[in-house]
């Protein structure tokens, strides 16, 4: 198999896409070897996206610990998703593709994609489950304002799983003109590797920042895991530091790593919520961004190898953490990273780093509705 992480990964897609994946792999390798590509990304990160993002000490939230938050919520568009969208948009231009399709769950990746398409003058179509469009209304309106066409997906669970399938079907149909700008470290190779590398800036910056302020590496690093892109980007900075504990936090009702089995979804072999016949199961989370029955293949490999461990947090625990961070630090996190915040108190570790992957504006209606 091509592009594997231990037993996971690969390219489980219809033949129609294989030449496009080969072309993408070649373009990606050429881009990585090109200093001009690196320089363009660095310039965009600094002058457009707002990198580097700061590290914030959260003393009142976790008085017994030295807790630092990596503030991806302060990135342009309000979440880490822009790191990946910018990089892939530059890559799409190198491929000569003028049309972009993407899937979105919480709408953060859709907004990031619509944003970079506006910035580079690319046509943008975003597939979004009808149920997610209902619970993430502000992001649907932002995408429209940015000039993207948001296509509702009325099939099945009407959430991220179906939106991803529809985006891939669009890509199969329009592969000659279209780049599929996938939003997480999932999908067929080379996507998991591309997304990981584009998000690895989170981990690189964090490592340098924590060394600067504390003079040592953190004891533990936490990140929420849906598809797993902010987590893999954060973990990438610390994988070689054996003393740093890596913890991924899944939504309890969408724990692909915690309760899943080996399966094939959206082009790669990974740990998947599926029944014993391989039929994909429904995920359930208050957080649209974690409401996905699959996960990036590298996470499945890190779980098996023991380098990272994965735990769960319930809807109520995430809501409680969101409210507590808001009241103690004046930072409203998105529901997704609130899952990671919910597990901080359980750790023995003293010096802890959490990836605050996005801000919570999009979740206000959902949070207020819960009282």
């Amino acid at each position: 198999m091509t592009g594997t992480y231990g037993a996971y990964g690969g390219r489980y897609v219809p033949e129609t896409l294989i030449p496009a994946l080969d072309e993408l792999t070649a373009a990606w390798e050429a881009a990585l070897a090109d200093e001009g590509f690196r320089a363009e990304l660095d310039e965009l990160a600094r002058t457009y996206a707002g990198r580097p993002t700061p590290l914030t000490r959260a003393e009142r939230f976790a008085p017994a610990k030295r807790l630092y938050l990596k503030r991806e919520d302060l990135l342009h568009t309000g979440a880490h998703k822009l790191n990946n969208a910018l990089g892939q948009a530059v890559l799409a231009r190198r491929l000569g593709k003028r049309r972009i399709v993407a899937e979105t769950g919480a709408g953060q990746h859709g907004v990031a994609t619509a944003t970079v398409c506006a910035r580079f003058g690319l046509e943008c179509v975003v597939y979004m489950g009808a149920e997610d469009m209902r619970r993430q209304r502000p992001n649907v309106e932002r995408m429209g304002l940015l000039g993207a066409e948001v296509r509702p997906v009325e099939f099945g669970t009407k959430t991220l799983k179906e939106a991803t399938s529809e985006a891939i079907r669009d890509w199969i149909t329009n592969v000659d003109t279209t780049h599929y700008l996938i939003g997480s470290c999932v999908g067929p190779a080379p996507y998991p590797a591309i997304v990981r590398e584009l998000q690895a800036v989170i981990g690189r910056e964090s490592r340098a920042q924590v060394l600067e302020v504390e003079g040592r590496l953190p004891d533990a690093v936490l990140a929420c895991v849906g598809g797993g892109s902010n987590a893999i980007g954060m973990f990438a900075g610390f994988l070689d530091d054996a003393g740093v504990e890596l913890v991924g936090v899944e939504a309890a009702g969408a724990a692909s790593l915690g309760t899943g089995r080996t399966g094939v979804l959206h082009g790669s072999r990974s740990s998947v919520l599926a029944d014993e016949d391989g039929q994909i199961a429904d995920a359930h989370s208050i957080s649209a961004g974690l409401d996905y029955p699959g996960v990036g293949p590298e996470h499945a490999h890190l779980r098996d190898s023991g380098r990272a461990r994965y735990v769960g947090a319930t809807d109520d625990e995430a809501l409680d953490a969101l409210r507590r961070l808001t009241r103690t630090e004046g930072i409203i996190p998105a529901l997704e990273p609130a899952h990671a915040l919910a597990r901080v108190g359980d750790l023995d570790a003293e010096l802890v780093l959490v990836c605050l992957s996005g801000r919570g504006d999009k979740d206000l209606a959902e949070v207020l509705a819960r009282g």
């Binding site: 489980y12 219809p14 294989i18 099945g156 799983k161 891939i168 000659d176 094939v264 016949d277």
Partner: protein, 232 residues
């Protein structure tokens, strides 16, 4: 004589429908094993898969359906499914049990040539396939090569894909000895005739499912109209 392959979704009525298709002139029946998230399929086959899953057509039930169909028809029966089902059932075990139930080879829609080469199956090629991939798929394929006529998902289209002519010519040059059957988007007798002029056979899926909704008689009449166009 051109080969006519008809796709049916596994279900309680499938053995009877397959018999009707063969009476109408089908030379081969593809048997869909439904998957919850079929990337290669358009709305018609997706709806049929959803319905079949609702009727409990999981892998074991589909294998029983295959065996029951085998008892009623003599033509090759080819399961068509997705990797997730094989992953869950066991790749080798699936191939063995399908053969034991009467299958002739199998098709895995999301397992491109070169991946898991040890699993003998009918390979698919598409208009986007390079000549190198056409050769690879042609060498690995089991009996015949499935030409996907268009870049897109399954489902009826207006007219035959213009991409088939070039694909058929390139595939013929790459593997002269392998029979080429064209599928995806073929729904009318005229489409079937036009595709058969370029290939050795045609596969009709979504339109056959639509005809099958009218029962065995309607399916038989529809397949007969395709047969007449191929033989005419």
């Amino acid at each position: 004589m051109k080969t006519l392959a008809i796709y049916l979704m596994s279900g309680p009525d499938t053995p009877e429908l397959a018999e009707a298709a063969v009476e109408g002139g089908a030379d081969l029946v593809e048997l869909g094993f439904p998957f919850s998230d079929p990337l290669a399929d358009g709305p018609m086959i997706r709806r049929a898969a959803e319905r079949a899953l609702g009727q409990g057509m999981r892998t074991r039930a589909c294998l029983e359906c295959l065996a029951a169909t085998r008892a009623r028809v003599d033509v090759p029966l080819v399961p068509m499914t997705y990797s997730s089902l094989l992953e869950a059932y066991g790749w080798d075990r699936f191939a063995d049990d399908a053969r034991a139930a009467g299958a002739t080879s199998l098709i895995v829609a999301d397992l491109p040539a070169g991946e898991r080469p040890e699993l003998r199956r009918v390979q698919l090629v598409a208009p986007t396939s390079t000549d190198e991939r056409l050769r690879l798929a042609g060498e690995l394929t089991d009996g015949w090569l499935y030409l996907v006529t268009l870049t897109g998902t399954t489902g009826a289209r207006t007219g035959l894909s213009a991409a088939l002519a070039g694909l058929a010519r390139r595939a013929r040059a790459a593997v002269p000895d392998v029979p080429l059957y064209a599928g995806f988007g073929i729904s009318t007798p005229a489409d079937a005739r036009a595709a058969a002029d370029l290939a050795d056979g045609v596969v009709v899926g979504s339109a056959a499912l639509e005809a099958a909704e009218g029962g065995p008689g309607a399916l038989r009449d529809y397949v007969r109209s395709l047969r007449a166009a191929l033989d005419g």
